[in-house]
Symmetry: C2
Subunit: 172 residues, 2 copies
DNA sequence: CATTTTAATCAGGTCCCCCTGACTAAAATT
DNA sequence: AATTTTAGTCAGGGGGACCTGATTAAAATG
């Protein structure tokens, strides 16, 4: 049986990590004045980008459907990404109602894990600790996928694919 | 010497955790339609709340200074919290320029870790894994505090106090 | 061919985080 | 007493994540 106090300890550390991590990012961005790419969240524009990196050339409707967004929100995010030069929009030749969204080279780079470095806060950890962390996170993520599954069965498969695909490079 | 591939693995898992965690929260909020209190982030209104829970009765200027916010932003967040009934504003009697901000009972509850339960995704972990996770996160957080320190020495002490204080209950 | 369905767009809204500029009221200084 | 500094407020702005409603253009279907 699980030790509740151990769970609480870990939960507390996790909350602390969240806060400290966020603040460290913020401070780094401010003081070093470098355009530190904040990690892509699976939300808003990031959602679009990540999904396209897994299957490029979708229509806005496709994106909206598989991301559980309204078409209007999707259009908004896509337009913002166009302005940033991360994706392109072009009318489909086969069905001229549709707009095909494609990643630009810059968009690919942004979405790709290749541009993501190992965060510095992992470097002090020993190999053993890294292994432990990986094992634990794998277990936790499993649990979370399961939760998502239960609440929203239709959509999980795709979400998981997207995430997995994005992270595959790291495990080669 | 650290194994870079192990670092990458862990980093990937961490990114995955971030995305999956976020999505799970979102899905839970949407589908269960329960007012799942999203965890307090150290930003915006949450920043204010957390800081007050560590030292109540600060002025807006005090808050702005120690949180690295403009006074206007601070005022905005405070006003929103007042509307939500989480804090109160009253003119200082000793210096009538100042406004003293205090947590209400509801505010205290919201800021207190008591409202945060152990997330479900920790329950499948064994005691050993929980210990490992705690140890690892402690190390990571240490590193991050140090980073914040380097970039913004003036402010860290206070930030750390706030965080530590908020989490103290968990370790008793 | 006429109607319906589909993909998108425009318009407008809600709420969040965060900033600068302009201005008032009260305390501190000269 | 006159000036300056300090704490706050109002006004307005830039981004971001979302949404509903109304309208247009093109494809599918009766």
């Amino acid at each position: 049986m699980p030790d509740v106090s151990k769970q609480k300890k870990a939960a507390g550390k996790l909350i602390e990590f969240d806060m400290v991590h966020h603040t460290a990012d913020e401070v780094a961005r401010r003081h070093h004045s470098n355009k530190t790419k904040q990690p892509l969240r699976f939300q808003g524009q990031g959602k679009i980008l990540l999904t396209l990196s897994q299957s490029d050339g979708l229509s806005q409707k496709d994106l909206a459907t598989r991301l559980n967004l309204s078409v209007q929100s999707t259009a908004e995010f896509v337009n913002k990404l166009v302005k940033k030069g991360l994706v392109t929009k072009e009318k489909s030749q086969t069905d001229r109602r549709k707009t095909v969204i494609r990643l630009t080279t810059l968009g690919e780079q942004t979405a790709s894990t290749e541009t993501a470095q190992v965060p510095e806060f992992l470097t002090p950890l020993t190999d053993t600790e890294l292994d432990q962390l990986t094992t634990i996170l794998t277990k936790i993520n499993e649990t979370l996928y399961h939760e998502i599954d239960e609440a929203s069965p239709a959509q999980t498969g795709k979400f998981r694919e997207v995430v997995a695909d994005r992270l595959r490079d790291w495990f080669l």
